[in-house]
C-alpha cells in the first residue's frame, strides 16, 4: 500500500526513510495531542480548586468586612486572568458587581436564572463564550446571610501557557523526526547495498556466458538464500544446456554418418554408370542428401539457439566487409531475377561476431527477399550504427508481411501467408536468423516498409 502512496521512481532508501519519517511524525503528533489533553484537564482541575479557594476567601472577608471588603479585596488583588465577582440577594438582585475587566463585551455573566440553577457547591461551571476560544469558569457559595457569592474567571492565561508548551513540544517532535531520518537513511542504504550489487551481478549474468553466478556475499541472510536458490536454477539450466549440446552432437553424429555412407555409395554408383538417366537420378539423389544434411544442421542450430546453447566462434570483423561479401554472394542471383541489389553502408565498425553464423543469418534474409521480390523490384541492405547497437536491415519491394504475422513468422516451421507452394523452404530460415541474433545478444524483427515491402532487421549490441 505504501509503495503506491510513495512515488515509484524514488529509490527504496528514500522511500523507506520517508515512510519512517511519516510514522515517527504521526506518533509524535499523537503523543503531543494526548499530552495536550492531559495538560488541559490538569490545568482545569487546578483552576477549579483555585476558584473554590477564592470563593472561600471572599466569603470569610464578607463575614468580617461585608460587601465593601469584597470590593476592596477584588480591586486590590492581582488578577492573571480576567476575573469578576458578584453578590446577589436571595431574590436575585445584584448587590455587588465587580466585573470581569470587560464583562459585557468579552465574557458576559450568564443570565441570573441560569446561574441560580447551578447545582449546590458542585461548584464550578464552565461557560463557553460563543466565538471565543477561552471560556469562563464560574463558581458560587451561599453566604451566611443567605446571599449568593459568585466568582468567575476566564482561562486565557492557561491557554496561553498550553499553547506555549505545545509549540515547544512540536519543535522537539519535528526535530526528532528529522534526526531519526539520518540513521534510517544510513541503515536502509546499508541494507540495500547488497541488493544493488546483486542487481549489478544479475546484469553481468545476462551478458555473460552462462557460467557466472549471482553474488550476494555481504547481503542479509534472506537475500543470500534467494541468491542460492537462483543459482541452483542456473546450475540446472547449465546442466540442461550442456546435456542438450551433447544430445545435439550425438544426434548429428547418428544422422550424418549414415548419410555419409549413403552418399558414398550413391557417388560410386554415379561414377560407374554411363546411362544418362541413371546418372541423372544419382546426381539428384546426391543433391537431396546434401540438402537433407544441411537441413539437419539448421534444425540443430535453431534448437540450440532456442535453448541458449548455441556456441559462437566470435572474431573481430568489419561489418562493412561482412555485408559487402554477402551482397556480392547474391548479386548475380538478383540480376538473374531482374532485381536490383543495393548496399547502403556509410559507417563501419569492427565487432566481435561469428562470421559463418551471421553470414548465414543475413544470407537467409536475402534469400527470402529474393524469393518474394518481383521482377524490377529492389533489395537494399542497410546498416544503422549508434553507440549501443548495430542494426542490419534487409528491405525489399515484395508483398511485405501480412499484419498480425510479424511475430509468428519467426517460429519454427511457420511460413508466412505470402509463401506459396512454389517457393522453396521449410520455414526454418527466419528461426535460424533469430537463433543467431539471440546468441549474439541481439534481436530480430520486421517492419512494414513505407511504400510496400518488408524491412527485416537484425540488431547486434555494440559490445558484441
Amino acid at each position: 500500500m505504501f509503495s503506491k502512496l510513495l512515488p515509484e521512481r524514488l529509490p527504496s532508501t528514500w522511500r523507506l526513510a520517508l515512510l519512517q519519517c511519516i510514522t515517527i511524525a504521526t506518533s509524535i503528533a499523537l503523543c503531543l495531542t494526548l499530552a495536550g489533553m492531559a495538560l488541559r484537564s490538569d490545568l482545569e482541575t487546578i483552576s477549579r480548586r483555585i476558584l473554590l479557594d477564592d470563593l472561600g476567601e471572599y466569603s470569610s472577608v464578607y463575614e468580617m468586612a461585608g460587601l465593601d471588603g469584597i470590593a476592596r479585596m477584588f480591586v486590590s488583588g492581582r488578577h492573571e486572568n480576567t476575573e469578576g465577582v458578584r453578590v446577589t440577594s436571595a431574590d436575585g438582585t445584584i448587590v455587588l458587581r465587580e466585573s470581569l475587566s470587560d464583562p459585557e463585551k468579552g465574557f458576559p455573566w450568564p443570565a441570573l436564572t441560569s446561574l441560580r440553577k447551578l447545582p449546590e457547591m458542585k461548584g464550578v461551571k464552565a461557560i463557553e463564550h460563543p466565538g471565543k476560544q477561552p471560556h469562563v469558569l464560574i463558581g458560587r457559595v451561599f453566604l451566611p446571610d443567605g446571599k449568593l457569592l459568585w466568582y468567575g474567571r476566564t482561562n486565557e492565561s492557561d491557554r496561553g501557557y498550553i499553547q506555549h508548551i505545545n509549540l515547544y513540544l512540536w519543535y522537539a517532535g519535528v526535530a526528532a523526526a528529522l534526526i531519526a531520518l539520518v540513521p534510517i537513511f544510513w541503515y536502509a542504504g546499508e541494507v540495500l547495498q547488497p541488493v544493488r550489487s546483486m542487481i549489478a551481478s544479475a546484469l553481468a549474468l545476462a551478458r555473460g556466458s552462462g557460467r557466472e553466478r549471482l553474488a550476494a556475499s555481504s547481503a542479509v541472510p534472506e537475500l543470500r538464500e534467494f541468491a542460492a536458490a537462483f543459482n541452483t536454477v542456473l546450475d540446472r539450466n547449465e546442466e540442461l544446456t550442456s546435456e542438450l549440446q551433447a544430445a545435439n552432437d550425438q544426434l548429428a553424429h547418428e544422422l550424418r554418418t549414415p548419410l555419409a555412407r549413403i552418399r558414398g555409395n550413391l557417388e560410386a554408383f554415379h561414377d560407374s554408370v554411363s546411362e544418362p538417366a541413371a546418372r541423372d537420378a544419382a546426381a539428384r539423389g546426391l543433391d537431396e542428401i546434401d540438402r537433407a544434411s544441411s537441413l539437419v544442421q539448421t534444425i540443430l542450430t535453431v534448437r540450440a539457439g532456442e535453448h541458449q546453447a548455441l556456441a559462437l566462434h566470435r572474431e573481430p570483423l568489419s561489418i562493412r566487409e561482412l555485408l559487402t561479401d554477402i551482397v556480392d554472394l547474391y548479386t548475380i542471383s538478383a540480376e538473374d531475377s531482374g532485381v536490383v541489389m543495393k548496399l547502403d553502408v556509410t559507417e563501419d565498425r569492427t565487432m566481435m561476431i561469428d562470421q559463418q553464423r551471421l553470414t548465414q543469418a543475413i544470407a537467409n534474409l536475402l534469400d527470402n527477399a529474393l524469393t518474394y521480390t518481383p521482377q524490377a523490384g529492389s533489395i537494399t541492405v542497410r546498416c544503422e550504427l549508434d553507440e549501443t547497437q548495430c542494426i542490419i536491415h534487409v528491405e525489399d519491394t515484395g508483398p511485405g508481411v501480412k499484419p498480425g504475422e510479424e511475430e509468428n513468422i519467426w517460429m519454427r516451421f511457420v511460413r508466412g501467408s505470402a509463401a506459396s507452394a512454389k517457393s522453396p523452404g521449410m520455414g526454418l530460415g527466419l528461426s535460424l536468423v533469430r537463433a543467431v541474433a539471440t546468441a549474439h545478444g541481439g534481436a530480430t524483427g520486421v517492419n512494414h516498409r513505407p511504400g510496400g515491402g518488408a524491412d527485416f532487421w537484425i540488431s547486434l549490441p555494440s559490445e558484441a
Binding site: 554415379h270 546418372r279 544434411s293 548475380i332 553470414t359 544470407a363 522453396p424
Partner: protein, 225 residues
C-alpha cells in the same frame, strides 16, 4: 602417396579406401584413435585423415599428441560435428583441414591435394590455360599477342583453385568454402554464375570449354592439349 585413415565406421572406411586407392593412393586403415596415433608416429605417411569420434582416443587428442611429438604430417579431420567452434577446435588442435560428413569423395581428394601441394610448396606467378597466361598477382589473363582481360578477385581465386586441381571434380561446397569462405548452403547459384563468367572470358567460341560441368557433382578443369 601413403595415407593413414582412422575411421571407426566400417562401411565408410570401405568407401573412402576404394576412392583413395582408385586415385592412386596407398591407404593404411585404423579404427581406433590410439592405434592411429601409434602408427602415425612410427611410420612415415604423407597425410593423415582422422575421424573425430573414435574409440580409444578422439581425433582432436590424436592430433594434439602427434603435434606434441613433433609429427608435422598434414591432418584432415573427417567429422559429423559441424559447429564452427568444433572446426576451430580441430584447427587449433593442429589439424590442417576439416571436412563434415556427409561429404563428396571428390572433395576429400581435392582437400588431400591441397595439403600435399602445400607440403611441396609449388605455386608460380604465371599459369597457362590454353592460349592464355594467368597472372595471379595482377589478376589478369593475357595472350601472347598482348590481348588481356582483367579478372575480379573472386574470379581469379576460383580459376586458380580449378587450375590447382586439374582433372579433379571440385564440388560447389568446396568452391564456396575456398573462394567465398562460406560453409553453409546459401541457396544461390553464385558458383555457377561465376563459372559462367570465367568461361565467357576464357573460352574460344566453338571449342569445348576448359571448365566443364560434372552434373550432380561440380566443375572440373581440363587442360586442353
Amino acid at each position: 602417396m601413403r595415407l593413414l585413415l582412422a575411421e571407426d565406421d566400417p562401411e565408410l572406411t570401405r568407401q573412402v579406401v576404394a576412392c583413395l586407392e582408385k586415385a592412386g593412393h596407398e591407404v593404411a586403415c585404423y579404427d581406433r584413435g590410439d592405434a592411429a596415433l601409434a602408427a602415425a608416429v612410427q611410420k612415415a605417411f604423407d597425410e593423415v585423415i582422422l575421424d573425430v569420434n573414435m574409440p580409444g582416443m578422439n581425433g582432436f587428442q590424436v592430433v594434439e599428441e602427434m603435434r606434441a611429438k613433433e609429427e608435422i604430417v598434414p591432418v584432415i579431420f573427417l567429422t559429423a560435428r559441424d559447429g564452427v567452434v568444433d572446426r576451430v577446435r580441430g584447427l587449433t588442435a593442429g589439424g590442417d583441414d576439416y571436412l563434415t560428413k556427409p561429404f563428396a569423395m571428390e572433395e576429400l581428394l581435392a582437400r588431400i591435394d591441397v595439403q600435399l601441394r602445400r607440403a611441396q610448396q609449388s605455386g608460380t606467378g604465371q599459369r597457362r590455360i590454353g592460349e592464355w597466361f594467368l597472372d595471379t598477382r595482377q589478376r589478369r589473363l593475357r595472350k601472347s599477342n598482348g590481348e588481356g582481360v582483367d579478372l575480379q578477385p573472386r574470379e581469379c581465386a576460383l580459376l586458380e583453385l580449378l587450375l590447382d586441381h586439374p582433372g579433379r571434380t571440385l564440388t560447389k561446397k568446396f568452391l564456396l568454402d575456398k573462394v567465398w569462405n562460406i560453409r553453409f548452403d546459401p541457396g544461390t547459384n553464385v558458383v555457377d554464375a561465376m563459372v559462367c563468367r570465367l568461361r565467357r572470358k576464357l573460352d574460344v567460341p566453338g571449342h569445348t570449354s576448359s571448365i566443364q560441368t560434372v552434373r550432380g557433382k561440380g566443375y572440373v578443369f581440363k587442360a586442353s592439349s
